[in-house]
C-alpha cells in the first residue's frame, strides 16, 4: 500500500514535478532510429514527460527535438516542410533549425534580425544502438551518453522495439521488477516462444513454483534474485537488475539474446514500453531478428504502420478463453508483452495503490518505490545527483546461473552481473 500523496508523487512526471525533475536527470529513449531514417525525412511528433515536441533530422543529418508548435501563431510543426537545414511552418513560412532557433521570418527583412529573437525550446538528441535518446534537464548537468550494454554493442548484435502502453509508467515498470509473476502469467510461453525455448534453465522455472527472493541494493538501483531448487545441492538463480529510474533486465535463457525494457512516461496516463534484445558477443541471427520483428519474445505485433500493439484494449486484447481454459496461455492473452500490458492497463490510467495488499514477495517493488521517492526528495532538497546517472551504474547484466547452495549470489554471480565487452553472458 502507498498513501495517496506518495502515489501522486511517484506517478506524476510533468514539468516541475519532483519525479519529473528526477527523470530529467537522465538520457531517455525517445525514438527508434528507423523513425527518422534519413536527412529531410518527415518530422515525428514526440510526447515525453508531458511535453509536446517535434523531432526531425535535417539536411545535414543533425537531429533536433523542439517545441511542437510554431512560435508565430501556434500550429503544429508536424505539418512542416523539412528542407535546407530546418523545419519550415507551412502557414507563413517561418523556419526553425534543430536547436529551435528561428532562422527565417519571410515577412520581415533578413537584415532586421527579427528571426534571431525567436527561439523554440529544444532538447539535445543523440543516436546510440539504434535508439535516439534525449536529455531534458539542466544543460550544465548533462551526463555522458548512456552506456547500457544493449546500446553499446555493434548494431548487428542488438534490436529494439517500442509499444504504446496506455497507463502510467510506474505500474508498467513494476511488472519488470516483480519476478514473482513469471511462473504464473507467462508460464505458457517458456517452452513455446522461439526466443525462450530450449534453455536448460526452463525446467527449474517450471519445476519449482515457489521461488525464494532476495533483494539487494546496487549502486544504480536494485538486484532482485529469485532462487529455485536444482539438483546436486545447487540453486538455480535468476537475477533481475533495475537501474533507476526505469531500466529493467530480464534474466536470460540459454544462449538466447538478453532482453529487457525501458519504461518512459509519455504523460501521466501513457508510457512507451521499450523492449531490447541483444547478444554481448555475436550477431543476432536472421531467424532471431525475424522472430523479434514478428512480435515474439518481449516484442509485440503492431497495428500496421504504428507502434500500437495489434492486441490492445480496443479489441479486448484478442482474449482467447479457449486457450486460457486449455492452459495454452495462463491469462488467455497471447505474447508476454501483452500479457503484462493488458493487466497493467486494466488497473486504470493510474493504479490506485491505496487499495493494494502487498505481501513479503513484493519487496522488490516496495524497495524500488522507496528508492525513487528517496532519490527524488534528495534531488529536490539537496540537488543530489540520483543513482543511475553515472554510466558505471548502467554496466550491469542480467544473469541466470546454478550456484552451490552455500554460495551467496552476490559473490557467486559477481562477474556475471557486470557487462564486460567481448564476454559472453552467464546463462543456463
Amino acid at each position: 500500500m502507498l498513501k495517496k500523496e506518495q502515489n501522486d508523487y511517484l506517478t506524476q512526471t510533468g514539468p516541475g514535478t519532483p519525479m519529473g525533475n528526477l527523470f530529467r536527470c537522465y538520457w531517455m529513449p525517445v525514438l527508434l532510429s528507423e523513425e527518422l531514417p534519413e536527412p529531410d525525412c518527415p518530422p515525428v511528433r514526440v510526447k515525453i514527460l508531458s511535453e509536446r515536441l517535434i523531432a526531425f533530422r535535417d539536411t545535414e543529418g543533425r537531429l533536433g527535438l523542439i517545441d511542437e508548435f510554431c512560435a508565430h501563431r501556434g500550429p503544429s510543426l508536424w505539418f512542416g516542410r523539412n528542407e535546407e537545414c530546418g523545419l519550415r511552418c507551412p502557414y507563413h513560412g517561418w523556419k526553425f533549425d534543430v536547436t529551435g532557433q528561428c532562422v527565417d521570418v519571410p515577412s520581415e527583412p533578413a537584415e532586421s534580425g527579427y528571426a534571431k529573437k525567436i527561439k523554440l525550446k529544444s532538447y539535445p538528441l543523440i543516436e546510440k544502438g539504434g535508439v535516439i535518446w534525449t536529455y531534458m534537464g539542466d544543460p550544465e548537468k548533462q551526463p555522458p551518453a548512456p552506456e547500457f550494454e544493449f546500446c553499446s554493442v555493434p548494431l548487428n548484435q542488438t534490436f529494439s522495439s517500442k509499444r504504446l502502453q496506455e497507463c502510467n509508467w510506474l505500474q508498467a515498470m513494476e511488472g519488470g521488477i516483480d519476478s514473482s509473476h513469471v511462473s504464473f502469467l507467462h508460464r505458457g510461453d517458456l517452452n513455446n516462444d522461439p526466443l525462450f525455448k530450449g534453455a536448460a534453465g526452463n525446467k527449474y522455472n517450471l519445476g519449482d513454483m515457489k521461488p525464494v527472493f532476495e533483494v539487494v541494493e546496487s549502486s544504480g538501483g536494485l538486484l532482485i534474485g529469485a532462487r529455485r531448487n536444482a539438483e546436486d545441492d545447487q540453486y538455480y538463480w535468476r537475477i533481475t537488475p533495475w537501474v533507476m529510474p526505469c531500466y529493467t533486465g530480464v534474466p536470460p535463457r540459454g544462449d538466447h539474446p538478453l532482453h529487457g525494457h525501458f519504461w518512459v512516461p509519455i504523460d501521466d496516463h501513457n508510457c512507451w514500453a521499450w523492449s531490447y534484445d541483444y547478444h554481448p558477443t555475436r550477431a543476432l541471427t536472421d531467424s532471431e531478428v525475424a522472430a523479434m520483428r514478428d512480435g515474439k519474445g518481449v516484442h509485440v505485433k503492431y497495428v500496421p504502420g504504428t507502434y500500437i500493439p495489434l492486441a490492445n484494449k480496443t479489441n479486448d486484447y484478442l482474449m482467447d478463453r479457449a486457450a486460457q481454459k486449455a492452459g495454452k496461455t495462463f491469462s488467455g492473452i497471447e505474447g508476454i508483452g501483452m500479457q503484462d500490458a493488458s493487466l497493467q492497463e486494466s488497473m486504470g490510467p493510474i493504479c490506485d495503490r491505496t487499495k493494494e495488499n502487498l505481501v513479503g514477495t513484493d519487496n522488490g517493488i516496495i524497495m524500488a518505490r522507496h528508492r525513487l521517492l528517496r532519490a527524488a526528495k534528495a534531488l529536490a532538497e539537496k540537488g543530489t545527483t540520483p543513482p543511475g546517472v553515472d554510466v558505471e551504474h548502467q554496466k550491469v547484466r542480467q544473469a541466470a546461473l546454478l550456484l552451490k547452495r552455500d554460495v551467496q549470489y552476490k559473490d557467486g554471480a559477481k562477474e556475471a552481473l557486470i557487462a564486460k565487452k567481448g564476454v559472453r553472458q552467464t546463462s543456463v
Binding site: 500500500m1 502507498l2 498513501k3 496506455e166 497507463c167 525464494v212 527472493f213 532476495e214 533483494v215 539487494v216 541494493e217 496516463h269 484494449k313 480496443t314 479489441n315 479486448d316 486484447y317 493488458s342 492497463e345 486494466s346 486504470g348 490510467p349 490506485d352 487499495k355 495488499n357 502487498l358 505481501v359 513479503g360 514477495t361 513484493d362 519487496n363 516496495i366 524497495m367 518505490r369 522507496h370 528517496r374 552455500d406 551467496q408 552476490k410 559473490d411
Partner: protein
Amino acid sequence: MLSESERMASAHELTFRIKDPNSKPRSIAVIALDKASAAIVDQISHEQWRGAHFFTSLSFSTDKQPAEGQSQAMQAWLNDLAGRALNLVAEVEKSDFVVVITAAGEDARAVSVIADACAMFHKSLLGLVIPQDDTSDKDIDISLGHLRPHSRMLVVAHGIDYIEVMLTALRA
C-alpha cells in the same frame, strides 16, 4: 463502438470502483534477532502501527530440554518492549506473517527456531538484514547465510526508514 476493455480502462470509470475496504487488518510479528536490531525495533515501535507487534529478543526456558525430535520453538519466549515474555509459538500462530531483523554480521542463528514455529502454522518468514556503519560485504554474507535457509523473502536494506516503509506497505 468502444470495446468493453477500452471503456472500462478510462479515468471516468475509476470513479465507480468499490470503495469498501478489500482486506481486514493484519497482524505482523516483528522480531529482532540481536542487540543492534533490538535498538532499531525499539525505535520503530514508537510509530503508530495497527497490527505490528514488536519483540526485541528471544529466550528459552531452561527448566527442561526439548524432547527427541521436538523443536526448541516449544520452549522459546519472545520478549516485548513492555518487558513481557510471550510464548513464541502462540505469537506466531496469531500472526499473519513474521518479519525477522538482524544487523549485518551479528549472530542471527536464532532464526531457525522462529522458522520452526512458522513452519508449524505455514506462515511466511521475511528476513531483513540491516547494514551498520562499519558493515563489510562479509558481514552481509554472514547474515544472509543465517537467514537464507529459512526466509521466503530476504532484503538487505540500508537505513531503518526502509523497515518503516515496508511495514506501512504491508499495512502493519
